[in-house]
Amino acid sequence: MKNKILIALAMLLGIIAVFAGNPQLAKKQDNLNEFYATHIMNEISPIELAKNIIDMKADMRILDLRSKEKYNENSLVGAENIDKIELYQYNKKKMLVLVGDEEAVRKAYYKFYTNGYFGVVVLKDGMEGWENYVVKPNLAGNPNAKEIYYISLHFLGQPTGYVESAPAITSPTTGSDKPAKGGAMPVKKKAPGGGGC
């Protein structure tokens, strides 16, 4: 009899739980909002990313969080289309570049960052920025050397007369051009002619 009462009580609590749904979700959203309000995400500009891709200086992975259809329409070189983040698939020492709409990017950034992936950066202005600054860049009249330098990147050019220092990830958190603490650094290329099998 005692056991039957306990079983009935357990089932009653279970049924109430089904209708209660997700009581903690509101709190989860509060935490997300607090994170967004107090933490500025590290960003990388389309030009910097393009330079990293062309020079192969950074050991990075580009994660495209958009839908499969949009990814198939246009995507960044080497970008991986993912719909669910499985953390074990990513290396904390690698730079992770997030591309996608604001909400998806924020959620992914929060998940990575709160799990110790401090090398995660967001592509500034997303695919729109990539299109405007890299794929179809505009050059104003009477461009200076710097503007010519940037536009030439689009055509894999190497103009003379302007020397650009190594690209860095803009870190709004620290307000400097260096990555935030724990952020991934561009990886130096090995000197040519080295050994190896």
Binding site: N3, A17, V18, P23, K27, K28, D30, N31, L87, N115
Partner: protein, 205 residues
């Protein structure tokens, strides 16, 4: 209503009091284990021979009590569930660690917690077991640089069952409760069957 719990993260008490609370909870936990008979290697290993399901029943009771308690206190706004620490899942290291712990449990008759309870209640075999545990911790510590990559591998982050199965928290609570009730009923049925068989064997003798 202002959320009070969990107490430590919300500053209800400080570092010193948290240590006192941990000590009191530890005493309470040890006392409960001892009273449940878990200071006996025979009682514990009978679980693995399907002779006594006390371990399974006690552990499942602890799980569903904590789960429903957290769920409903969170639902009533008395606890901020998102502040409750949940460890990360490292799939492969934890599967291997579980197997090693299980083997040690079957061979030695105790798990680490119950071995401490048994030592306190004066069991000599538990002293040997606890020395083995200490030695194992020392070896693991020394070998850690070699094991570190594996130790940190297959990091899945914090994974909740309801996220993994794509259900709501409430549905998962219901599913675990159904599983627990099913397990209790099956264990009781098996124990009754076993007792009946023993009685028949006794009668034949």
């Amino acid at each position: 209503m202002e959320i009070m719990a969990p107490f430590f993260p919300n500053g209800v008490f400080g570092d010193d009091m948290s240590l006192v609370m941990a000590l009191l909870i530890g005493f309470g936990f040890g006392f409960s284990l001892e009273r449940a008979g878990f200071g006996s290697a025979k009682k514990l290993t009978d679980q693995f021979y399907f002779k006594d399901f006390a371990v399974l029943k006690v552990m499942f009771t602890a799980i569903i009590t904590a789960m429903t308690g957290l769920f409903f206190l969170s639902w009533m706004g008395m606890i901020n569930y998102s502040q409750v620490f949940v460890g990360k899942t490292f799939m492969m290291p934890q599967v291997l660690g579980g197997l090693i712990l299980g083997m040690g449990f079957v061979i030695g008759g105790y798990c680490p917690g119950t071995s401490v309870v048994a030592v306190v209640s004066g069991k000599y075999d538990a002293v040997t077991f606890l020395l083995g545990v200490t030695f194992g911790i020392f070896v693991f510590g020394q070998a850690f640089p070699m094991l570190e990559d594996f130790y940190n591998s297959t990091d899945m982050g914090v994974v909740y069952l309801y996220d993994f199965f794509g259900t709501s928290f409430g549905v998962m609570v219901f599913a675990v409760l159904v599983m627990a009730v099913g397990m209790f009923v099956a264990a009781e049925w098996w124990e009754r069957k076993l007792a009946k068989r023993s009685a028949e064997v006794q009668d034949e003798k």
